[in-house]
Amino acid sequence: MSETTEKVRKTLARRYRAEKRFKAFGIGSIAIGLMALVLLFTDIIGKGHSAFVEHEIQLPITFDAEVLDISNPRDEDELNYGNYQGVIRDALAERFPSVEGRQDTRALNQLVSTGAGYALRDMLREDPSLLGETRTLWLLADDDVDLFLKANEKQREDSRLNAKQREWVAELEASGETRVVFNQSLFSYGDSREPEQAGILGAILGSLFTMIVTLVLSFPIGVAAAVYLEEFAPKNKFTDFIEVNINNLAAVPSIIFGLLGLAVIIGLFGLPRSVPLVGGIVLTLMTLPTIIISSRAAIKAVPPSIRQAALGLGASKMQVVLHHVLPLALPGMLTGAIIGMAQALGETAPLLMIGMVAFIVDLPAGPLDAATVLPVQIYLWADSPEQSFEALASAAIMVLLAFLITMNTLAVVLRKRLERRW
């Protein structure tokens, strides 16, 4: 055995141990990351899963023309001002005939959500022949009733319902006059101050419009800038200066872009507050550096031999870029764009300044309608006094996470699918 082999043999065990340690550190880091993820998910899902269902109460409702104060159910004005609460009140009084006194009647009427009245209106609008008829209907329960029914024995003691209300609800529950249904309003309405009627569709649409504006503006601008800087720009002090500034821009806190948006886009150009168009422009400023940097990296990764071959065959510089470099760099650019978009989707700070942190009920129909976005909706709900909003906020976080996971998965799939190796 030579001397060298001897030496190697001696240190071999130590080197193996070092390698094992090194690997263990890596696995440990991943475990910590995963644990944080699991903690986040269990917390959010634990809090938010109950918001996906809600309770309804069964009541026989008589569409009494006199109580409703509606003579012609086809008249929109009469429909809007109909006394639907009165009909529900009568139905409740009939169900609990022993309830007397102002205080108690009022407590009884609080069991049903104010949204139930609007549901009745919509039914009557759909089918005017209901006027005068009696139907057994499932009506949306108030959020306090909903919380009470969802709570376990011990939590029920802390309910906001008073002793009598608890008794009534327990009676309804025991006789099967309550049921759990999927929370449809969550995905079909805008914001509301009544938790049982609040939905995130408004915020989803707002996010969608904002993202469309951001994508339409930032992707072409970002790609064009990257192509010029990589393929055409001379290498001099000035382009170095631009590069430093782009990298710098990527590190600017996002609230600054919001201030800029407020001062320039709203202040100077006179665009309205709280609209996705302005939000999209502001987020474009924020996303651009990400797209430019990743696009440049993608262009750099295209081997020079391809450019040289094209040039050698007589292609012009522009043909080289458009026919060869861009298609080959596209997967990388798209990945960068999607990651930039995912970042923009989760942003609230710049939107605060331009008025998108607002209570908006009506669903936006386009980028010029007032709207809010998903993360803002989460923030607004987390800040509301009603207890049920806590679960709703967590549910909205789940929806936002679902979008983010989809986008990031798409980025990975695109990269895997379209990536070329040389």
Partner: protein, 352 residues
């Protein structure tokens, strides 16, 4: 690819060019409301109900009272808000700012009261505080405990040291940061209220007003008062986890979280609906909103919104706002205020 890209670029350029026509305020058919985060939970309910009756639902931003005034007073024109909410009265300086920017006619509407409560977890002990206790426990500088008329940095560590009747627990109060209107009101009503009970401190007011304010509206910064952010829900959650801590927040949060937190009595008065409304509970304030008259008729629905807000079914004793924790005005005041609001009476500036 090249053509498509050019087209998109051209489109983007066109969008930017369109946006760069200065001063083109777009017509708006939804009411725009800004202002206090304390009034926000009430104004949003009114807006929603108003929207359900066939109108466009007003858009409400929670910017804080001061921020709202600034936006509101920036000028007339649909790019500026129509209504601002405030958890305090408009200041003279704000009224003047409005005037100088052409916002001449403003209608003031007082909508009700809000109490600020000091609460702890129901698992803890309910306590009785006086305003003086609050001042001694939370002010930055307090009179020397030996009784002499000089100020020392707040030496109190436990509630028992402040007042022997209080429990022997560490002073730990979670409350809003200085940017909050709730904090302003708490400093002014509770801490200053307790400060005033020392005659020699009160006497400073006549000599040197700013010195008096510095003493009587300061909050200690040694960790006993924890700034917990503007999110009152977070404070409630933290109180639930830590029964020894106390929290400062608005009455509506107490009302919504009964069973989780309980409020301390202040000067022997429990913060109830009635006690705050009658003014017996000392830490309560009035809530307002202000309407820009120049926008009435330009932006549709402002009159309807004001009418909805000032209707009995909204702000009355049994109205839906009282269910959300707003404490209504007295019957007479409510009637006269409703009349004043619906006729859109302008402020003169003298009343401030």
């Amino acid at each position: 690819m090249n053509f498509k890209m050019k087209a998109t670029l051209a489109g983007a350029a066109a969008a930017l060019a369109m946006a760069s026509v200065p001063g083109t305020a777009m017509a708006r058919d939804t009411i725009s409301i800004v202002g206090s985060s304390t009034v926000y939970p009430f104004a949003t309910v009114v807006a929603e109900r108003f929207g359900r009756t066939g109108n466009a639902t007003p858009k409400i931003e929670s910017t804080g009272s001061g921020g709202g005034m600034k936006l509101f007073c920036q000028g007339v024109g649909t790019q500026h808000p129509d209504i601002t909410n405030a958890s305090r009265r408009m200041k003279k300086s704000e009224f003047e700012l409005c005037q100088s920017n052409g916002v001449k006619d403003i209608t003031e509407v007082k909508v009700g009261y809000d109490g600020i409560v000091i609460a702890n977890s129901v698992k803890g002990e309910q306590i009785d505080l006086s305003l003086r206790d609050i001042f001694l426990a939370l002010a930055k500088d307090v009179p020397n405990p030996d009784g002499s008329e000089e100020l020392v940095a707040n030496p109190y560590k436990t509630w028992k040291e402040v007042n022997p009747a209080l429990p022997n627990t560490k002073i730990e109060v979670l409350g809003p940061p200085p940017t909050s209107g709730t904090r302003d009101a708490f400093n002014e009503l509770a801490i200053e209220g307790g400060c005033k009970t020392f005659p020699w401190l009160k006497a400073i007011k006549d000599e040197d007003k700013s010195k008096y304010k510095a003493i009587c509206r300061s909050v200690r910064e040694d960790g006993a008062y924890v700034e917990a952010g503007e999110n009152d829900n977070l404070i409630v959650q933290k109180l639930e986890k830590n029964p020894a801590a106390y929290g400062v927040f608005g009455y509506s949060f107490l009302d919504q979280n009964r069973g989780v937190v309980q409020a301390a009595n202040v000067d022997g008065v429990e913060p109830t609906f009635d006690a705050i409304g009658s003014g017996d509970y000392p830490v309560s304030r009035s809530l307002f909103f202000y309407v820009k008259k120049a926008h009435v008729g330009v932006v549709p629905g402002i009159e309807g919104y004001v009418k909805e807000f000032t209707s009995e079914k909204a702000w009355g004793n049994n109205g839906y706002l009282s269910e959300k924790g707003l404490i209504p005005l007295g019957d007479d005041l409510r009637k006269s205020m409703a009349k004043q609001a619906r006729s859109l009476k302008s402020m003169t500036g003298e009343e401030l």
